[in-house]
């Protein structure tokens, strides 16, 4: 490989790209639009959720709990007169969830009366939610647990039980509330989705744009024209993907700045480390794009293949849906998807501020997958017709 030839090809690609307003606008708009849309629409934030409160205790403790929940602005407490009203409003959709504070709550919490024991049951707060709104209610449930844990009730060790109404109401399934939001205590969905959106953009948009770009070049005859020069296949491929990779790295910076200035979502860890990881991850997506381009005769075919391939992969990568909630076969399958590992690393850096040593395992998997895909891509692109 000759650096001089590679530079000629890269300069050519950069010039051609910059002179095509459509491509430039796509390269800038797609990541930003994805960031804005996904962080807003798919956000798992809980805000002003209508929450019925059936306060059977009417004590200082119960009022303190309701006031505490209202102060978070995540819930909008609606006082309920009785259980019938609670059931009716949940059925009508007037409530997303309801809180039943039992009679004796305040008394049960009083330390001077001694610890809970066989003769004195611990008070139980009941959370009832609409089983048809599992994702929203699940988030509310987690948030509620976290909020309660931060109140006097939580300090006093009040267990809460959660019961789904609607489809599963009859089953009477009872689960303990488990606080899972160790690094995102407010359960603000935006950082979670921002960190995931990097995975979407760098997996889907990158693959799509490189695949279509290469197919178009082949259809236009420019790739063939390059092949009748001393440029090697490796130089031709690198001359194409390196400038595009640089643009996508700029997109990562753009998205980081947009998320930071628009929503105050900045990486908890090192921004430079995140940029380096994201830049390397593009090797995986660009290789995938090259493989798709090598097996597609037209741009339409490349688009169709990318959508068919990337959409389920992104859905299984934990971008929007938690992998832990999937069937075991899909959980295993998710592990062979590069985006799964990148999104884990992205969230680790963005939400938990983790460094290279903390995510070394995931990075290793990405490197291995990248090496395999690069080898396949070079073979696919270098093959003569």
């Amino acid at each position: 490989m000759k650096l001089a030839r590679l530079l000629v090809l890269m300069r050519r690609e950069a010039l051609a790209t910059l002179r095509d307003p459509f491509t430039v606008s796509i390269l800038i708009a797609v990541p930003l639009v994805a960031l804005l849309l996904f962080s807003s629409i798919l956000s798992t934030s809980v805000e002003y959720l209508p929450m019925g409160v059936l306060d059977l205790d009417r004590s200082p403790a119960s009022r303190r709990l309701v006031a505490g929940l209202a102060a978070t602005r995540s819930f909008q407490p609606i006082a309920l007169a009785n259980r019938d009203q609670l059931d009716e409003m949940l059925r009508d959709g007037g409530l997303s969830l309801a809180l039943v504070l039992p009679d004796g709550l305040d008394r049960g919490l009083r330390p001077d009366l001694g610890p809970a024991g066989p003769g004195r049951a611990r008070p139980q707060v009941q959370v009832i939610y609409d089983g048809a709104e599992t994702v929203l209610a699940g988030n509310a449930e987690s948030f509620l647990g976290a909020t309660m844990a931060a109140t006097a009730l939580g300090d006093a060790g009040v267990p809460a039980i959660v019961r789904a109404s609607g489809a599963s109401a009859g089953s009477g399934s009872v689960v303990r509330v488990v606080t899972r939001a160790l690094f995102n205590p407010a359960l603000d969905g935006k950082p979670y989705m921002v960190a995931g959106t990097f995975g979407f953009v760098l997996s889907f948009a990158t693959t799509l744009i490189i695949a279509v770009s290469v197919v178009n070049e082949r259809a236009a005859g420019t790739f063939e024209q390059l092949q009748v020069t001393p440029a090697t296949n490796l130089e031709i491929v690198l001359g194409k993907v390196l400038p595009l990779g640089a643009v996508f790295s700029l997109d990562v910076i753009l998205m980081m700045l947009a998320a930071g200035f628009l929503w105050g979502v900045w990486p908890a860890g090192s921004a430079v480390f995140f940029l380096l990881v994201s830049t390397f991850y593009q090797v995986v997506s660009l290789s995938l794009g090259l493989i798709i381009s090598a097996t597609s005769a037209t741009a339409q075919e490349a688009v169709a293949k990318t959508v068919l391939l990337a959409t389920p992969l992104i859905q299984l990568s934990g971008f929007a849906l938690p992998i832990d909630n999937m069937a075991w076969a899909f959980r295993w399958f998710a592990e062979v998807i590069p985006a799964t590992h990148y999104i884990r690393v992205s969230r680790a850096i963005y939400l938990r501020g983790e460094g290279p040593l903390d995510v070394a395992g995931e990075l290793g998997v990405i490197v291995l997958m990248g090496a395999g895909l690069v080898a396949l891509a070079l073979r696919a692109v270098g093959r003569r017709a």
Partner: protein
């Protein structure tokens, strides 16, 4: 099929085959050519002309008993070969977003030419092609003929030993076509040029021809050799109404093809069916309105028709010459 007078061939193909899946595009090409000349690749649509040219340019995986081009084997890594030839595909393959100057710079630099040499050769080629006034215009904004001239200038920039052109004048106006052929004519003494074409006057301008049919070379030789080997007799029949004469002539048993021009009817008679020149002329002169029937030299059109007619027999015309 070896061409007459060939020594140390720059192109030497024996039983060259190319399949796209189950479809055979080339079924066993035998072809050889050496030294500077213009080798025309002709034949009907779908005969395999473009596939053969792409194979010659090292762009295809092929099978063959022997497949040497400029000393490189087409069955092996063709990167060194591709670096030494100029290739002009049927459709414009340079960068539409870049100007003429930038396109030449990219090509020249990829060939390792110093910028000064690129400028000097580019100046000469642009002057020859008439593109100099448009040097800063994006290639995508050029006319079809200008694009083809730029593609040829780009292919010639690194002074290749072999220039492969796939129908370079297709869809190009007559002026640009003449200019393109003028460029090729200037280089026929220096470079081996392989060009495919569908235009009869361009076929006539080639030093040698390879006629393809069904993925095989069924005839090869110089235009004169192929004309001499054409198993047809050609007659011109003069009269006041050439169209009516042509219609009448079509009814004669030994006539295979007729055409009418403004002045005469053009009659083709396969040699195997001909009762002899005198008998043919006498029969033609007996037709209504005929003033004179005369034997004519086989022209390129008759030669091509004869090649097309005999191609199905897959008998190399050149071999009979």
């Amino acid at each position: 099929m070896a061409l007459a007078g060939v020594a140390a061939p720059a192109i030497e193909l024996r039983a060259l085959r190319k399949h796209y899946g189950s479809r055979a595009a080339l079924r066993g090409i035998d072809l050889a050519a050496a030294g500077p000349q213009i080798l025309g690749v002709v034949g009907p649509d779908g005969a395999g002309k473009t596939t053969l040219l792409r194979a010659l340019a090292g762009l295809l995986e092929v099978e063959a008993e022997r497949s040497i081009v400029l000393g490189f084997d087409l069955r092996e890594d063709t990167a060194p070969l591709r670096a030494k030839l100029g290739y002009v595909p049927q459709s414009f393959g340079l960068y539409r977003e870049l100007s003429i100057r930038e396109n030449l710079l990219v090509t020249g630099r990829l060939h390792g030419l110093p910028d000064r040499a690129i400028a000097a050769r580019g100046e000469m080629l642009l002057g020859r092609t008439g593109l100099r006034p448009f040097i800063d215009r994006p290639a995508g904004a050029l006319s079809g003929g200008m694009k083809q001239k730029l593609a040829i200038a780009s292919a010639l920039l690194a002074e290749p030993r072999l220039l492969v052109l796939d129908e370079p004048t297709a869809g190009v106006d007559i002026v640009a076509r003449d200019e393109i052929w003028a460029i090729l004519n200037e280089r026929r003494a220096e470079v081996l040029i392989v060009v495919s074409t569908s235009y009869l006057n361009e076929v006539e301008m080639c030093d040698r021809l390879a006629y393809l049919e069904g993925g095989r070379v069924v005839a090869a030789g110089s235009p004169a050799e192929l004309r001499a080997a054409t198993p047809f007799e050609l007659y011109r029949v003069w009269g006041a109404a050439p169209r009516a004469i042509a219609r009448e002539a079509r009814e004669l048993a030994f006539v295979s093809g007729v055409a009418a021009t403004g002045q005469y009817a053009r009659i083709e008679v396969p040699s195997e069916r001909s009762p002899g020149e005198a008998a043919v002329r006498a029969a033609l002169e007996r037709l209504p309105g005929v003033v004179l029937a005369e034997a004519a030299a086989i022209d390129i059109e008759a030669m091509m028709r004869a090649l097309a007619a005999t191609a199905s027999e897959a008998t190399p015309v050149g071999a009979r010459a």
